[in-house]
C-alpha cells in the first residue's frame, strides 16, 4: 500500500508536514519520499508539475490517484485506511464537531502567519505599506491569542481528549510559531500543547530536518 504512494515535499512546510504525520499515524511508512528545495525553486520543477500543475508542495500520489491539497490528502488517508493505524476521527459527536471546526480555523492561523511573517515574500516592494505590516502583525497576535484561549478550555488536544485530524492539520502550524520564537511564557497553553504533541512518534519521526540542525528565529519573541 505505502509502496504505491509517493510524496514530494519541502522541509518546514506545514502542508507537507501534515501529510507526513497522517501517513505515519495510519501506519503507511515506506512510501516513496522525495524531499525538494523551495529555495532552489524545485517546487516549480518538471517532477512536481507532472503531479501538481499548480507547482506547489505537497504533491501526493497513491497509484494513479493524485491529491495535492494537504487537507484533502489527510481526509482521504483517514477515510481509506480507517481500519489501520490510529483513528484520527473521534467517536464522540462533540469532539468530531470541534475537530472539523478547528481543522478549518487552522486555515486562518496559517494565513495570518503568511500575511505577517512572509509579508515581504508575497508583497512586491512598491506595494508594501507600514500600515499593512502593522495591521497584519496585530492580526497575527489576535489570532494566536484566540488559539491560546482555545487551549485554556480544551485539552490536551485541539478537539479534546483524542489526537485527531485537527492536530495533524494544525500542530505543524503551531510548531512553526515556536520555530519563529513565540514566547512560551506569553502563550503557556499553546506551549504545553506544543510540548505534548512534539514527542508523539508520528511528529518526532517527521520533524523538519533543517530545524534539528539550526536554531529558529526570534521574530515572534516579543509578541
Amino acid at each position: 500500500m505505502a509502496k504505491d504512494m509517493t510524496l514530494l515535499w519541502g522541509s518546514g512546510s506545514p502542508p507537507c508536514w501534515r501529510v507526513m504525520i497522517a501517513l505515519e499515524e495510519k501506519g503507511l511508512q515506506g512510501y516513496n519520499s522525495k524531499q525538494l528545495s523551495f529555495e532552489k525553486g524545485e517546487h516549480k520543477g518538471k517532477d512536481v508539475l507532472a503531479i501538481n500543475p499548480r507547482g506547489q508542495l505537497p504533491a501526493f500520489k497513491h497509484g494513479n490517484i493524485t491529491l495535492n491539497e494537504s487537507y484533502g490528502a489527510c481526509l482521504y488517508l483517514e477515510e481509506q485506511f480507517k481500519n489501520q493505524g490510529n483513528k484520527l476521527t473521534p467517536e464522540n459527536k462533540a469532539e468530531v464537531a470541534l475537530m472539523y471546526q478547528r481543522m478549518f480555523e487552522g486555515l486562518s492561523l496559517f494565513d495570518k502567519i503568511k500575511q505577517s511573517l512572509f509579508y515581504d515574500r508575497f508583497v512586491p516592494e512598491n506595494e508594501r505599506h507600514d500600515s499593512a505590516k502593522k495591521r497584519n502583525a496585530e492580526g497575527l497576535k489576535d489570532e494566536i491569542k484566540i488559539w491560546e484561549g482555545y487551549m485554556q478550555t480544551t485539552g490536551p488536544y485541539l478537539a479534546g481528549k483524542s489526537f485527531s485530524l485537527a492536530d495533524v492539520i494544525v500542530f505543524p502550524v503551531v510548531a512553526f510559531l515556536f520555530r519563529f520564537g513565540l514566547n512560551e511564557e506569553h502563550f503557556p497553553k499553546l506551549a504545553a500543547y506544543h510540548n505534548t504533541v512534539k514527542d508523539r512518534p508520528s511528529v518526532k519521526n517527521t520533524w523538519p530536518s533543517n530545524w534539528k540542525d539550526s536554531p529558529g528565529m526570534d521574530t515572534l519573541k516579543n509578541l
Binding site: L67, E69, G72, Q80, A97, Y100, Q101, S131
Partner: protein, 225 residues
C-alpha cells in the same frame, strides 16, 4: 434532528450557501435559521458573537456543538448523516480523492474571486495599487482556466468528481457568484455549462441567495476577466 440545528446566515455569502445546500441535500430542512444583514453589520452582533467569537457568518449550531467553518460544517453534516439524503462523499478511492482535491481547491478559487471583486475590502484606501489589482486579475484568469480544464467533460451527472458531491457544494456557489458579478459565459463555456446544469438542482434552487452583496455597485466587477 433538524430542529436542534440553528444557522445564522447572510445573503450572497458563498460559505453560508454551502451549508444551506448541504442541509437540503441531507434532508435536514426545518432547521432554525436567521437571515442577518452584512450591510447593517449584524454579523458583529451579540447573537452572532455568542456562537462565533470571530463575528463571521455562517454561524452554525447542532445541539450544543458549534461549527462555523463552512467546509467543516459540510463535512460534519455528511459524516453525521451518512445514511440519509444524498451521498456527498464518493466511496470509490479515485472519486473520493478527486472530490477532496477539488473541494479544497474550491477555497482557492473563492479567495481569488474575492481578491478581484472585493479588492477594496482587502486593501484599504491608501494601500491600493493598480499593479496589485492587475496581478490579482491575472491570477484569477489562470485559476479560472484551470477550472475550465477540470470541467472539460462536464455533463449531467458528471460534475467535479463524478456525481454531485461536496466538491460541487463548495464550488458551485463561487461560480454562481462569479457569473452574477459579471464573469463572461462566452469566455468560460465549460464553467457556464456547469452552472446551467446545476442551477436548478433542488437543493441549490431552494437556497438561492435572495440578493447579492453590494450588487448595484459591483455587478460588472468580473466583466473583463
Amino acid at each position: 434532528m433538524a430542529k436542534s440545528m440553528y444557522l445564522l446566515w447572510g445573503s450572497g455569502s458563498c460559505p453560508c450557501w454551502r451549508v444551506m445546500i448541504t442541509l437540503e441535500e441531507k434532508k435536514l430542512q426545518g432547521y432554525k435559521q436567521k437571515l442577518l444583514s452584512f450591510e447593517k453589520e449584524e454579523h458583529k452582533s451579540k447573537e452572532v458573537l455568542e456562537i462565533n467569537p470571530r463575528g463571521q457568518l455562517p454561524s452554525f449550531k447542532h445541539g450544543d456543538d458549534i461549527i462555523n467553518e463552512s467546509t467543516g460544517a459540510c463535512l460534519y453534516l455528511e459524516n453525521q448523516f451518512k445514511s440519509q439524503g444524498n451521498k456527498l462523499i464518493p466511496d470509490s478511492p479515485a472519486e473520493q480523492a478527486l472530490m477532496y482535491q477539488r473541494m479544497m481547491e474550491g477555497l482557492t478559487l473563492y479567495e481569488k474571486l474575492n481578491l478581484v471583486a472585493f479588492y477594496d475590502f482587502y486593501a484599504p484606501e491608501g494601500e491600493r495599487h493598480d499593479s496589485a489589482l492587475k496581478r490579482n486579475k491575472d491570477n484569477l484568469v489562470t485559476e479560472l482556466q484551470l477550472w475550465e480544464r477540470y470541467l472539460e467533460n462536464v455533463a449531467a451527472g458528471r460534475y467535479l468528481a463524478g456525481g454531485f458531491s461536496l466538491a460541487d457544494v463548495v464550488v458551485f456557489p463561487s461560480l454562481a457568484y462569479a457569473f452574477r458579478y459579471g464573469l463572461s459565459a462566452g469566455r468560460y463555456p465549460k464553467l457556464a455549462k456547469y452552472y446551467s446544469l446545476l442551477k436548478d438542482r433542488p437543493s441549490i434552487k431552494a437556497t438561492w441567495p435572495p440578493k447579492w452583496f453590494q450588487i448595484e455597485q459591483r455587478s460588472e466587477s468580473l466583466k473583463d476577466i
